[in-house]
């Protein structure tokens, strides 16, 4: 059918060619002629491609499939037709108008680049950043680490709702003396790199944490719920394990390196923020699970050396397991190994122990429990 008028750009000059377009249905091609064209163009239907997502939907802009160096395998020439009947007929006759063509070798490119990107990210997250964090954590001067630890504890206090720094710290003198005695008993004969500073915070959480630089905080809730002084000693030994391994500093450094990386990988799309938080949680969890397991081993060794019964540790983990109840966080999300396994290990260890004595006498234990007044 045709001819109808159209405008043609040859892809070499910006000048417009006014052309006549005829559709030769028998030959299956478009014939384009015009006074400014040196010769008639024959565009076969099978190679015709239409531009998509055009704002002026009534018009049809055509190009040809061709192996050019362009971003898509397309001829640079463009032919625009506005005449509705012709547009409809071409859409009807030419099946491949909306076909997506790829340059040869595209899939290989996707695979190699994809593998390289995944490889680089995995290498960074799981090999290079952890190594770097380990190294940096060992070369940081101790006084800087202590200062950093104090600011961590200050942040923690503020998060727990302290109006002024130091408000949360429990100051019972007899209790602190009992606590110091416990620390002394555990660290006796051990070659520790840090001067330990252990304190109790007035908060109901059943928890304890080790900040960088030898600073350990035990929550009041843990003292209240612990089965006895041996359980507290086990937790303390575990936290000393974190201190000696510089886990807090190391994990802060790792997080600093991996946080930016993760948010870059996952990008910002709807729900992207959730994905980033979840991803960071998983990364963090796998880092810390290793550290927790190592601290458990350290704690058992320390209890054995100090002659403290590790049944207290088993009881404590049993209790934690009960607290978590049936709604166990899946292990890959949790920062701690499963409680039953940890209790089991402590019980196994206790069977091999001989000549253990309670870490604190009854009076001292009561004083420690009452440290917050």
């Amino acid at each position: 059918m045709g001819p109808v008028t159209g405008s043609f750009f040859d892809g070499q000059h910006a000048g417009r060619h006014r052309v006549e377009v005829t559709l030769d249905e028998a030959a299956g091609e478009l014939i384009v002629t015009g006074p400014s064209l040196p010769e008639a163009l024959h565009w076969p239907c099978a190679r015709l491609r239409a531009l998509e997502d055009l704002a002026r939907g009534y018009s049809l802009t055509l190009t040809l499939h061709a192996e050019t160096e362009d971003e898509a395998p397309r001829d640079p020439a463009r032919l625009t037709i506005n005449e509705p009947a012709m547009v409809a007929r071409i859409r009807e006759l030419c099946p491949d108008l909306h076909k997506r063509d790829l340059h040869r070798g595209t899939w290989r490119k996707i695979w190699t680049r994809g593998a390289m990107a995944v490889g680089a990210v995995v290498l960074m997250l799981f090999v290079i950043l952890p190594r770097m964090a380990d190294t940096l954590a060992t070369i940081i001067p101790v006084e800087r680490e202590i200062a950093f630890g104090k600011s961590v504890i200050a942040q923690m206090e503020r998060a727990l709702g302290a109006a002024d720094l130091g408000d949360l710290r429990c100051r019972g003198e007899a209790g602190q003396a009992a606590l110091d005695r416990m620390v002394a008993r555990l660290s006796e004969g051990q070659d520790l790199q840090y001067d330990l500073e252990v304190r109790v915070f007035d908060d109901g959480m059943v928890n304890a944490f080790a900040a960088p630089g030898g600073q350990i905080v035990i929550m009041r809730g843990l003292l209240e719920d612990a089965s006895g002084p041996d359980a507290v000693a086990a937790v303390l030994a575990h936290e000393i394990g974190h201190v000696e391994a510089r886990d807090a500093t190391r994990i802060a450094l790792r997080a600093a390196g991996s946080a930016g990386l993760l948010s870059m990988v996952l990008g910002d799309f709807t729900g992207g923020t959730i994905a980033v938080v979840l991803g960071e949680r998983i990364m963090q969890a796998s880092y810390t699970r290793e550290a927790e397991a190592a601290a458990d081993v350290f704690a058992l060794d320390m209890l054995n050396a100090a002659g403290v019964d590790s049944s207290g540790m088993a009881e404590f983990f049993d209790y934690i397991g009960e607290l978590q109840g049936e709604f166990q966080i899946p292990e890959y999300l949790s920062t701690h190994p499963a409680s039953e396994a940890r209790a089991e290990r402590a019980r196994d260890n206790a069977e091999g122990q001989e000549g253990t004595t309670p870490v604190l006498g009854e009076a001292a234990w009561q004083a420690l429990k009452g440290i917050c007044g």
């Binding site: 750009f9 040859d10 892809g11 000059h13 910006a14 000048g15 417009r16 998509e52 997502d53 055009l54 704002a55 002026r56 939907g57 802009t61 050019t68 971003e71 898509a72 640079p76 020439a77 790829l102 490119k109 996707i110 680049r113 390289m116 990107a117 680089a120 990210v121 290498l123 960074m124 997250l125 290079i128 770097m132 964090a133 940096l136 940081i140 800087r144 680490e145 200062a147 950093f148 104090k150 600011s151 200050a154 942040q155 720094l165 450094l253 600093a256 390196g257 946080a259 930016g260 990386l261 948010s263 870059m264 990988v265 990008g267 910002d268 799309f269 709807t270 729900g271 992207g272 994905a275």
Partner: protein, 403 residues
């Protein structure tokens, strides 16, 4: 539709914008949904489709722009950028964090503790040169993938030069309290324009930076009112009046910033030339542009509220009966709720594009005209540009604007 004003032998082309809300909204919502369902991978194709629509809306009454970028090359560019950024970001951020740690002193007061927290935030500065680098490369890619009348636009390489100049000028602007902002605006625009091409014809930026100075008058006026209000609130017995004045000053300041940007844009556009003899004119009506943005934001807010309200009501209507019908029904209701939620977020994320961004582009395009346009026909094609990283860096750094 055709508007060609013949003035002697000289032809003037007037910019037109043919885009409408509905088709763009359909593209945006559909691609946003696909992006979520593919965990973000489709975003490269989403951006491509939106741009194809917007570009094809821009015309001179006859010939439309064409966006030839592909989603695939954006994905490939992103993957390549990721390899480099993974190494750079990981190492540099950890290094800076360590450096921050070694500066640590024991926080004695609340204030010191806050200062240290802020110091840690400075690690973000590590990406600043990359941000400017990525910005220039993203623009170069956009130019390389824009065609009009079948002829490619293009930009030369120069991302590091741009990053260095941008850092330098930003520093100067900040140190001079904004006084040298026009210098920054002008020099950076000139750097970019003088490296831009249409076919084999170069763009050139003329004019003087000092011409931009008076355009900042309303910004200073706003600042003056703010400071005056603040002083009044602090020193006199009229704290409320002072605070109100400071608030007025703030709005004045914002309006001043918009005014500056629009005026600077018009000045810089009218002082550009293409191929030495093709000129441009830009007469943006600032008041109507501000009104467009304001009304657009209002509409976006209202529709967002309505969509969330409908979502809440829908969830209630679906879940309540399902609970009484047993587990199977609850499962189906759960799927319905998730689907409705995804649709709602896709709609909401598309609103700004349709109600704010597109109307701005519309107004700006229609305010631009090209003088001496018959010279355009002598322009010839330029060769293909591989498009740098196809915005990979900008995307990885979350800088890439939709359009």
């Amino acid at each position: 539709m055709i508007s060609r004003l013949q003035t002697g032998a000289r032809e003037t082309l007037q910019g037109h914008y043919a885009g409408q809300r509905k088709p763009l909204f359909e593209i945006a919502v559909l691609t946003a949904l696909l992006t979520t369902l593919t965990l973000g991978i489709y975003r490269f194709w989403a951006k491509t489709r939106v741009r194809r629509y917007v570009w094809s809306s821009i015309n001179d009454g006859r010939d439309s722009f064409e966006y030839t970028g592909t989603g695939l090359e954006k994905l490939l560019g992103f993957l390549a950028a990721m390899v480099i950024l993974a190494i750079y970001l990981g190492v540099v951020q950890m290094g800076l964090y360590y450096f921050g740690l070694t500066l640590f002193i024991e926080p004695q007061t609340e204030k010191q503790a806050m200062m240290q927290a802020a110091a840690m935030g400075i690690t973000a500065l590590a990406v600043l040169p990359l941000v400017f680098f990525a910005k220039y490369r993203a623009r170069r890619y956009k130019m390389a993938r824009t065609r009009w009348r079948g002829i490619r636009f293009g930009a030369e390489k120069g991302a590091w030069g741009y990053a260095a100049r941008a850092m330098f000028h930003w520093l100067l602007s900040v140190l001079s309290l904004g006084l040298l902002l026009p210098w920054q605006t002008f020099r950076l625009e000139r750097y970019v324009t003088d490296r831009s091409w249409y076919g084999d014809a170069p763009f050139q930026q003329g004019g003087k930076w000092t011409a931009l100075l008076p355009m900042m008058a309303q910004i200073y006026m706003g600042l003056l009112i703010m400071v005056g209000g603040g002083t009044m609130a602090a020193l006199t017995s009229l704290p409320e009046e002072g605070a109100m004045m400071a608030g007025l000053g703030f709005f004045w300041f914002i309006a001043g910033v918009v005014l500056y940007r629009v005026k600077a844009f018009c000045y810089l556009t009218t002082h550009k030339t293409l191929d030495g003899n093709i000129h441009f004119d830009a007469e943006v009506d600032t008041a109507s542009l501000v009104a467009t943005v304001f009304l657009g934001a209002l509409v976006v807010a209202v529709i967002t509220a309505v969509v969330y309200g409908a979502l809440g009501a829908g969830v209630f209507l679906v879940v309540m009966p399902a609970v009484t019908m047993g587990q199977g029904a609850v499962f189906i209701a759960g799927i319905l709720v998730i689907a409705a939620y995804l649709l709602a977020t896709a709609i909401i994320s598309s609103l700004a594009l349709v109600w704010i961004v597109q109307p701005i582009i519309h107004q700006v395009v229609e305010a631009i005209s090209v003088e001496n346009a018959d010279e355009l026909q002598f322009i010839e094609q330029r060769s293909h540009d591989d498009g740098a990283d196809a915005e990979g860096f900008a995307d990885a750094l979350d800088l890439a604007a939709a359009v």
